[in-house]
Symmetry: C2
Subunit: 566 residues, 2 copies
């Protein structure tokens, strides 16, 4: 394409609406424009990138044996009511009524729809397994859409759903998809990590996330340097504590008056102890009554884990009145000693606190020198906190966690029969008996992947696209388009590269060289082919966006740009 | 793909929900499934066809110099309010509020959005012209969605919008798009006609429609056998009448008592005259007062044409009370003689009625022997009726209309400044003065084109795809997959054709040959490669879906299927 004709309105300044680098650069590079909060138009450059991401996904999904379909955006409420998600989804679901007052939502995900399609299309175990996918726009009415394509209200996803007659068949396809996803992100030239994950609203059993690594990533990821374990902060397990339990042979419990100290930092400074000696005690309400959860002062409670350990579905921090009733004290002075009428659940690390401290269940008072087993006990102990750096790996029990940051771009789930059993999606087995199909589902955020690629690959001058995702592989830039020799050589090379099937941009603008280079660098084209003074010797400059490396090359040999640099 | 794995649930019977052949065959062939009224899922075969249609469109739009973008589905009300279409569009617009109560619609078309994008992105005449297109899902809350993909509520469209600094530039791009559309439909192997059309709700100036010809087509098309003129029934003009006007030398007016006769047929039978002698008189209300429109009894009034001739925007049949007031009689007895206080507009054919008849503006009475000029006059005469077969061509004034039926699949418009002037979409000209951009817009219904292709190409056994749109170019069918030789030969050929880049379907099912052939014919694969008895001589049967022609061919020579038959 000719740059003079491409609608790519670049901006000199960072737009006020953008907070993160990918959002800023996509706006500045003329890739996208905001139409409404979380709703974007893809300009020609943006569409090209979206298309490159989608094409790689499509090729690899096809190669993996999945079949492409296209499901609608307007989804009838009835199907969502069958699984109960019409009620659960809440305000994130865009709901709409047609002229006959029938209720629909704009699809945020398609489990119900594909399950309905399969239950009415397939009957026999002989027709399974199948894996159906689509690349399509999804809708979610985020309370606070932000970060450009990272958290939009209208966004493109690849979603795939597999149906099986056995758990082994699901396992096999899950591995197939895992490998396919690795091929996809490898082909895109991205650095990423596959992590154990929480299933969230989609639900079901085991799941893993694909995280593109970037310092600016929204999520913390832990991985073990000794084994292959990797997990998101949400779901990272923690290796078991194997210290010998202390017996509480220290000094006896003492009450200390602690007025006006509240936070972990304030209390430990006042008591002259380490935060790790403090026993943070949080009172929760659940459908099975109140629970007191204990974690070390330097640890953070993970409510998803606490729910599992406590065996409850509904869990929320107790209101002041409940805390007063349970502990006898106002908020901020709860502690495990003498606590009655409430289940106490302690994190695995808590029993090992020698010489602990905690609230005294009495206003402005703390207890010191408390010991597990002697002064208090928990009904249950378990892993109820977020992992942190240097925690022990739960898989090999040897390595200590290292952490990095990442952006979730893909998620694969073993759903099991969560949807098929509710929706009566069954097959006839070898004995002609009805069985619920076993399902998997597999998603990739298309726009999100493009944004994550930028978060991982940028510098002060702009985007540094990995070649497979760049809107153009190379840009031809004549130093002065008004010099006939340069212009002619540029046009000729442009035609040759196009004929050779290279996505090439011809910067035919009359602007100064500096302006053109700035734009091309901002846009992030991997290779610049500069036609300038060296043309007299039949040569052009070829400059690598990433390394800055420049080589001189015979213009006649620039036919195949693959492998030119880098 | 292997037929045993493709999710293509074929049906033996015509589904009750389908009225037209394309809808029936897409359901029966396992191409689509209904999710809700006018809302369809594309199964793998359906998606492949959709993709073939979209790919040809994309290639030709790119070749024509248009740039692909992607605009959102969620469109903010504010932009639609700027052009006033938020109010005009009525119930066809799916309207939705987000969680903050902001109003959006689901895009049925994108003039407002692209105009907003261009007014904020381009400033100078030097940046024009541009042509931006997208292939995307549109939404329209049809009161009665029907005919499968023909009139859906959620459907895929290619829409393009061009912006210009001069009318000449628009004319040039309009011709470019017209030629591009011809290339697109030629490449798809469709028979079509380009017709003059009415602009409808999109508005603006000149427009043409691309009609795929099919006997089952929804619209009547007129064309002139002497020149290239072609037009839809809505917009076909009618050549002028050049008969010498009659002077009214016949018998004088007489009143006839006509109780209980109402329709044109009843009245003309009762009066023993031809319907062409009757002067049908319809009373309309407009923003400029009541109008009496006169057409011959055998002609049908075209309200779009009447609006233009009358110079009004708002036109509707008058209520009984208004008719009573204007004519002095109840509904059914209006006539031009003695009519006062109302503009009379006559169709061009009316003044030539010798010895006419009409209502007498008196209950149960008609007048006979009435003559134009003697007994009544019109304030205006003009073309206010639908064309019919044998009407004179308005362009060459020689040919007489022939008619055929077609399905609208594309529409190109010269919009002019209809949107840009309302939305202040301006550029700076050579003298640095602001001018409204001049626009064109160009649409193709993607799913509709697939359906129209079936309406044009089918037989009693199923679909007969034109090769460029078929989900697979060929199907390999071993007569008996359990015979090792046949199965091996089939697998080998399947691999060879895939390697050669042919979209080939391998019918590896264990069903009887008859069942397999029936399915493959229903689905409409252009070529069947049957591996049966002739394999002993190293040969396969190749059968053309369209002609039924069969040839025997060396299996080793079936590498390139192009040009094998037909």
């Amino acid at each position: 394409m000719r740059m003079s004709q491409v609608v790519a309105p670049t901006l000199r300044e960072d737009p006020a609406e953008a907070e993160i680098v990918s959002h800023k650069l996509m706006l500045r590079g003329g890739y996208i424009r905001k139409l409404a909060a979380g709703v974007y138009t893809f300009l020609p450059l943006g569409f090209r990138v979206l298309n490159k991401v989608a094409s790689i996904i499509r090729q690899e999904m096809d190669r993996a044996g999945a079949q492409e379909v296209l499901m609608p955006t307007l989804l009838p409420a009835e199907l969502w009511q069958e699984t109960g998600r019409w009620g659960i989804y809440g305000k994130e679901l865009f709901r709409i009524k047609d002229r006959h007052d029938r209720e629909f939502c704009l699809g945020p995900t398609h489990e119900e729809i594909i399950t309905d399609l399969v239950r009415t299309s397939l009957r026999s175990y002989k027709q399974l397994p199948v894996n159906l996918y689509q690349i399509q726009t999804k809708f979610r009415d985020e309370i606070r859409p932000r970060f450009g394509l990272m958290r939009g209200r209208e966004f493109m996803m690849k979603d795939a759903y597999s149906f099986h007659a056995s758990a082994e068949s699901l396992d096999k396809e899950y591995r197939n998809m895992r490998e396919t996803y690795c091929r996809i992100f490898d082909r895109m030239g991205l650095k990423y990590r596959v992590v154990e994950a929480d299933s969230g609203l989609i639900g079901g059993g085991y799941s893993q996330e694909f995280m593109v690594l970037a310092e600016t990533g929204e999520e913390e990821i832990f991985h073990c340097p000794s084994c292959s374990y990797s997990a998101s902060r949400e779901s990272a397990g923690i290796g078991e504590y194997k210290m010998s339990r202390v017996a509480g042979r220290g000094p006896l419990v003492e009450e200390v008056h602690t007025p006006k100290v509240r936070t972990v930092e304030e209390v430990s400074a006042f008591l002259r102890i380490q935060p790790s000696q403090l026993i943070k005690t949080l009172i929760y309400e659940t459908e099975r009554g109140a629970v007191a959860a204990l974690v070390r002062g330097d640890h953070a409670i993970n409510e998803a884990k606490l729910k599992k350990v406590a065996g409850v579905e509904d869990l929320r921090l107790a209101e002041a009145a409940v805390i007063k009733k349970v502990t006898g004290a106002p908020v901020g002075f709860a502690g495990p000693v003498g606590l009655k009428g409430v289940r106490i659940i302690a994190d695995n690390a808590v029993p090992f606190i020698e010489d602990g401290a905690s609230g005294a269940n009495k206003e402005d008072c703390h207890l010191v020198h408390i010991a597990y087993g002697r002064d208090y006990r928990a009904e249950l102990t378990g892993d109820i906190r977020y992992a942190a750096r240097a925690d022990k790996c739960p898989r090999c029990e040897r390595g200590k966690f290292e952490s990095s940051r990442g952006i979730e771009v893909g998620h694969i789930f073993k759903l099991g029969t969560k949807y098929s059993s509710k929706m009566n999606c069954v097959y006839l087995d070898e004995n002609n008996r009805e069985q619920a199909m076993i399902m998997g589902c597999y998603g990739i955020g298309v726009g999100r992947t493009a944004a994550a690629a930028i978060e991982q690959n940028n510098d002060k001058d702009g985007i540094v696209w990995p070649a497979p995702l760049a809107p153009f592989a190379a840009a031809i830039i004549p130093a002065n388009i008004n010099e006939k020799e340069q212009a002619d050589a540029a046009k000729k090379l442009y035609q040759e590269l196009r004929t050779a099937g290279v996505d090439v941009l011809f910067d035919d603008r009359e602007d100064r060289m500096g302006v053109k280079l700035k734009d091309i660098d901002l846009i992030g084209i991997p290779l610049k082919i500069i036609i300038g003074k060296a043309l007299k010797e039949g040569k052009v400059e070829i400059k690598d966006r990433k390394t800055g490396e420049t080589i001189l090359k015979e213009i006649s040999s620039v036919r195949d740009i693959r492998g030119l640099i880098g």
